[in-house]
């Protein structure tokens, strides 16, 4: 997607659990090429919103629509091992991108992932028994094409593909400085490194949209700074659009282009970091009614 275009459109999204309304008529537009922060007090519905986008929750009503360039998905799936797909993209006219829309709300999480949406979780969801490398290679799963029989035999095309995927994973490992941990089971690593591995697994998917749920939670100032730098690197190098949930206001103000503020499931502010900071409703939600007036 060219930068500046709407990439993800959330319209009137409502999510209820029995009598509890987690999200009420949420509207949000994520533009391609931006870092879009979602902030709000605890229980505001930030993670619920991400879960609706990635297909883990089914919203009660409303829609989430992802725009993607059809060729991007095809090319990512083909890689070097599939020359057919590559020649297919070369024919396409660059000025006339084949942009498609897809409603995510009816898709299971694995299909959403295949459309180029990757995510990390607030309470790290890694495969603890698997090594760092295996976790990252699983990030390449959406791009691998060989079936059960060829993967059983492994030789030939399947093997070449495996090597091509491994190269991408190695790049991610270099970027996040995880070289020393490659072969360690993830469960053995410290919290901060696990957070980085989870970011890496999402990156290995080469997504068009990256959803990060509190990637810096529970870290000290130094670790936060490191991770913020990784997020910025990723944003610049991979050109990926990022939706970020974060509590640390300094981080949010520093790295995001746009901020959406949620409180009790409703959007109470939306705009540039500066605009949001000056928004009286946001100040009220964070600091209480007395301060705002």
């Amino acid at each position: 997607m060219p930068p500046g275009q709407p990439l993800l459109q959330v319209d009137d999204l409502t999510l209820r659990f029995g009598g509890v309304t987690a999200l009420a008529d949420v509207n949000m537009t994520v533009e391609s090429g931006t870092i879009h922060a979602i902030i709000g007090p605890n229980g505001a519905g930030k993670s619920s919103l991400l879960n609706c986008i990635s297909g883990l929750y089914r919203p009660t009503s409303g829609s989430v629509v992802l725009r993607y360039v059809a060729d991007d998905v095809a090319r990512g799936g083909g890689l070097a091992a599939d020359p057919g797909a590559a020649s297919g993209t070369a024919v396409a006219d660059v000025a006339d991108l084949d942009v498609r829309e897809r409603a995510l709300t009816s898709l299971p999480p694995n299909r959403v992932a295949r459309l180029g949406v990757a995510r990390s979780f607030q309470n790290i969801e890694l495969f603890d028994q698997l090594t760092v490398l295996e976790n990252m290679m699983l990030g390449r799963h959406v791009h691998m094409k060989h079936n059960v029989l060829t993967s059983m035999l492994w030789f030939g095309p399947a093997r070449r593909q495996e090597i091509a995927h491994r190269e991408i994973v190695e790049e991610v490992i270099d970027l996040l400085k995880l070289q020393a941990h490659r072969q360690k089971p993830v469960g053995m690593l410290s919290y901060g490194i696990q957070k980085r591995v989870e970011l890496g697994r999402a990156l290995a998917m080469q997504p068009s949209l990256l959803l990060l749920d509190e990637p810096m939670a529970g870290m000290n100032a130094e670790e936060k700074e490191d991770l913020a730098r990784y997020v910025l690197d990723v944003h610049e190098l991979a050109g990926v659009s990022i939706v970020l949930i974060e509590h640390d206001m300094n981080v949010v103000m520093d790295i995001s282009n746009r901020v959406t503020v949620l409180d009790f499931g409703r959007v109470i502010g939306d705009g540039t970091p500066r605009e949001v900071m000056d928004n009286p409703r946001v100040i009220e939600a964070y600091l209480g009614a007395g301060v705002a007036s």
């Binding site: 883990l56 999480p109 990757a118 495969f127 603890d128 028994q129 059983m152 469960g187």
Partner: protein
């Protein structure tokens, strides 16, 4: 010494077949969390479907094997799709009861078509015997060990290294995370059941060839439980060690002591192992950090 060698080879072959059957059980348990009490019946279905293709329909052996594999894959996928998927989210006991019910249905289906009399099948593996260290050893038993060893190595390798194997382990580890990296949990479940059925087919056909095609295969299949519990339920190496141990112990007790005692000795061994190591010999302590 001669008796020892004979018993050793027969025990190893039975153990290898057991390990193969048990590996299917472990695959299902690891990926889907289901304890499949119908694994013995999968052996039965495998042996009889091969028998039908090979003897009744008189197909060439390669084709008959393909038919057997096809039937096994279909049975595995159908069982997962229509019997276990509706049970997702139910308690363990309910799911266990369903697989016990499934076991009865599968063996009843086989009885309905073939009755309870043993069927004879022309030998597939070479007959005759060779003399090793003074003991007479049936050649087909040696072949059974080779076949099972090869299949065991292939399956273990598949599970550890291949893309789909890693995806299966990922699903076993964290289903939510697996979905968000694009793995279809349903497909992985179907794949585990299909693989379990195919490994049971190979075990069933090998067993039928060294013995006969009969309902007793189910009783042999029941030994899968001491094997996997000993191995720790989810450990592939544990399953192999457990299978060989049970196979050997049963043969030695049967040969040197009493065939009646041999029937129960696997369970005695099981109890003894669990007394010392409650998580099984290879029961992995899960790595957990809070």
């Amino acid at each position: 010494m001669s008796t020892f060698v004979t018993l050793l080879i027969i025990g190893l072959s039975e153990g290898a077949i057991l390990a193969l059957a048990a590996l299917g059980f472990v695959l299902i348990y690891k990926a889907t969390g289901v304890i499949n009490f119908a694994q013995g019946e999968f052996l039965l279905i495998g042996a009889y479907s091969f028998y039908t293709a090979f003897v009744v329909m008189q197909l060439p052996i390669v084709l008959a094997l393909l038919v057997g594999v096809l039937v096994a894959v279909i049975v595995g996928v159908v069982v997962e799709r229509f019997i276990l998927r509706p049970m997702v989210g139910q308690s363990h006991i309910s799911i266990i009861m369903v697989t016990i019910g499934l076991a009865s249905v599968l063996s009843a289906i086989v009885q309905m078509f073939f009755g309870t009399n043993p069927r004879s099948m022309p030998p597939i593996l070479p007959r005759g015997s060779v003399s090793i260290l003074g003991g007479s050893v049936p050649v087909n038993r040696l072949w059974a060990i080779v076949i099972c060893a090869v299949v065991l190595v292939l399956l273990t390798w598949f599970f550890q290294k291949s893309r789909h194997g890693v995806a299966m382990r990922a699903v076993a580890d964290d289903q939510q995370a697996a979905m968000t990296v694009g793995i279809s949990v349903r497909r992985v479940f179907a794949l585990s059941w299909a693989l379990a059925a195919v490994s049971a087919l190979i075990a069933g056909v090998t067993l039928a060839d060294v013995t006969t095609v009969e309902m007793n295969i189910v009783n042999f299949g029941l030994l899968v439980f001491p094997v996997v519990i000993m191995g720790g339920l989810d450990s592939v190496p544990g399953t192999i060690v457990g299978g060989l141990t049970i196979g050997l112990v049963t043969q030695f007790v049967s040969g040197y002591m009493d065939p009646g005692l041999a029937e129960i000795v696997p369970y005695i061994v099981l109890v003894l192992v669990l007394l010392v190591r409650p998580y099984g010999v290879f029961g992995e302590k899960r790595i957990e950090r809070v």
